[in-house]
Amino acid sequence: MTIVAAFLICSGVFFLFMGAVGLIRFPDFYTRMHAAGKCDTLGSLLILTGLACAEGFHLSSLKLMVIALFIFFTSPTATHAIARAAHRSRVPFWTEEDNK
């Protein structure tokens, strides 16, 4: 069980770190949002699940799973709301000309 928890936590940290790198490196707002939204949700979910596995059957692990479920629903909702605000106010897309 400890090995499974360590694996989950390490992969979650990997996803969070790669999301941060994508947030820096990508060229426009929508691609940044693509990196940030998904990597962040999955990374947090993996870390919280790994900590719940490390805890075993306990009240804290139940609370950790509730937080994970909450993030699973709210993080994509927040991402969608922000992307909709950007799209409504016509933030420009990245095109091939911007690369030159």
């Binding site: 999301g19 991402t79 106010s89």
Partner: protein, 95 residues
């Protein structure tokens, strides 16, 4: 699950927070900053729970993390609604 493992994981996440903070400071438009702050908030939830393991007070810190997740969600939603109505100022060239 040892103390040093949790410490290392927290430090790596804090490094990722530092990387995201670059986008908050240098983001060309306000909406980039909102995304980065939302990302940092999500990372902070994990860091708060890991801090609970470091101080061996997990039960309290989990409640704080849940509250933080709630506030993070409502803040992102409110900011995006506000700037959806107000409009986002942006330059043409996205960089």
């Amino acid at each position: 699950m040892t103390y040093s493992f949790f410490l290392a994981v927290s430090l790596i996440i804090l490094l990722a927070v530092l990387l995201s903070l670059y986008r908050v400071v240098a983001g060309p438009s306000i909406i980039d900053r909102i995304v980065s702050v939302n990302v940092i908030g999500t990372k902070t939830i994990a860091v708060i729970v890991l801090t609970g393991y470091l101080f061996e007070r997990v039960e309290f810190f989990i409640d704080i993390a849940f509250l933080y997740a709630l506030i993070n969600f409502i803040g992102a939603l409110a900011l995006s609604r506000y700037f959806e109505q107000k409009g986002v100022e942006h330059s043409r060239s996205p960089q």
